[in-house]
Amino acid sequence: MSAEVSVPPARRSITASPIFGKIAASLVALFISFLLGALLVLALGESPLEVYGLLISGSLVGMPNFLVTLQMMSPLIFTGLAVAISFRAGLANIGAEGQMLVGALCAGYVGYAVELPALIHLPLCLLAAFVGGLVWALLPALLRVYLNVNEIVVCLMMNPIALLLTGYLSTRVLKAPGPTNKLPDIQPTAELSTFSLFSQANTGLIFALVLCLIFAVVNVRTMRGFEWQMIGKNAKFAYYGGVDVRRRALTVFLVSGGIAGLAGAEQVLGQYRAYYDDFSPGYGFDGIAVAMLAQFNPLAVPLAALLFGALNGGSAVLQMMTGLSKHLVQVLQFIVVLVLAAKLSWDWLKLGRSQTAAPGSDPPAEGPHVTAGDR
């Protein structure tokens, strides 16, 4: 009985502390990874203060540097958001890289092959990218939701297939004349405009931020957002609570793929102005780290993307000033990922497996199509 008495304070602590607890957790993880990184830099015989100083000043101080950071973070907001909303629903969509490539190709194709006024052309290209990413997510999503096939494996296989498929199309079928493997340049009506000589940062960034805002509202203020979270927390509970787990899971997976496709649109319409074969240095994979750091919260995704964007943006300055290799910055990033992964697995161990049961597992398989409780 005393347990019941203690319910109100416990509830209050659940609603109040998680925000701070979560932020603190991410900051602690960052702090630990920067300490580890500092040790590494010391081992290389460089001063950690100088290296981090250059990374920070080279990414945030001064308009050119900051604009480059904005350029670097733009694709990561899209891929980070894509991964975040899928993970929040208990679906590990780690196929954002492939979905982005297919989305980029679709945007690049519609961008050059269609002639329309800008008011229609640009949205059409974005839509093409969204659909491209969505279609690429369809196979892992269906397999996951209806046959309970592990989406991690399928997504991982879809990524190289996307790279090879887009590579084939852009080097053989649709290639523009010239020495570079790319599609013809997009029409000016399909461009996302840039602001500066120093950076390819473009209006796609604003679009990305608005998307994050939209999903933050959807997650917290709508029934769908609540159901997505519920199937992520405990699919069985959600099922018995009347959620159409399969349909919700499918929607989340496909929307996640579509958003990853939009990352490709930002690259092609804003940064490259044409689809370039194999353009991505791994924005889709970086998106996983961004989403983890943001703890799958859409509002935190831009901040996490800012950190990774800043590391990449500062990298060039670090190379200019010290002669250190670009690989150092990549290693520093990977350390962040490693610490975050360690933290996640620690949470997982602490909570036990029951809570991490994902949608599409047992319950829906028991009965036929259950929609009775769907609101």
């Binding site: 203060l49 000033m321 290799s325």
Partner: protein
Amino acid sequence: MLNSFKSWIAGALFVASAAIAPSAQAEIKVAMVTSESGLGDRSFNDMMLAGMERAEEELGAEFVVIQPRAVSEFQSTLARAAGQDFDIIIGSSFDMIEPMRAVAEAFPDQAFGLVDVGPEPIADNVVSTVTKDWEGSFLVGWIAAKETETGTIGFVGGADIPIIHRFFIGYYYGAKMANPDVEVIETYTGSFTDPAGGKEYTLANVAEGADINFAVAGATSAGVIDGAVESGTFAIGVDSNQNYMAPGSVLTSMVKRVDTQAYDMIASVADDSFQGGSVLYYGLAEDGVAAAMDEHNEGLIADEVLAEVEELRQKLLDGEIVVPNYFDLEAGQEMMGEPPMATPPSVRNASEL
């Protein structure tokens, strides 16, 4: 935690301003901007680095290498490097032409260099180079004709397009100069990304008697080299040193000496002879092309053949030999180059080029 962050930033600003202040008085400061494949590519980027190291050694130049991760980072990287006080910023990649033009126009006082691109000038403060690949092809054609045992050599091109024909004409001219009786088989796979096709064409050439095949075919070249290994013949690589791809089966590689080209740019800044807006041509005489010799093809080419290469170089320098450029030929033309020699059937019998 917030405090430690603040102190980081404070420290960072301090260190950064210290770093931006001119450091040790090196003669020349050079920034090399790689293509997106970066260092370790065993190709242009690594070769450019060799040019930087040579400039460091011989000219006392100080250099940094900046490696963008993607083509989209070229422009911002060049622009930010232009804001530092480098004496010259050197890049390599066709994809860097447009970004460098934009940045060079915004920083008219900054010297830039771009190696191995097209013949069009890029901007008033950019020196660019064109590699006379036809002279390099001439050289390896000459070596192939000297080294063949069957009296037949082959050419495996990617697409059947003028820029690749230019390699063939040089190759053919060199081969005929070394040995007028040599047979040269001209083939094109139709693709730069088809190793399997490259292998088929190579084996077909071998079946017709060719024991050396020159691969000018991008990724298809891997198949040409594969075919050489399988049939116990030789392949010749192109652009960068590909000898390592199959030691003992790659006779040599026709390399574009982007290291020489980059080094000369730095040297021109060092002695104030930098001519912005100029396009420099690099052939055999300028050390802009070479037949790669390393541990992987040691002993494959006879010493006396190699000794004669130096004579060829001198003759090119004196104008005694002029290797024909395909773009100067006309359909049906019968003789080409200096000394004049018969054109191949693909030119002589063509109705248009």
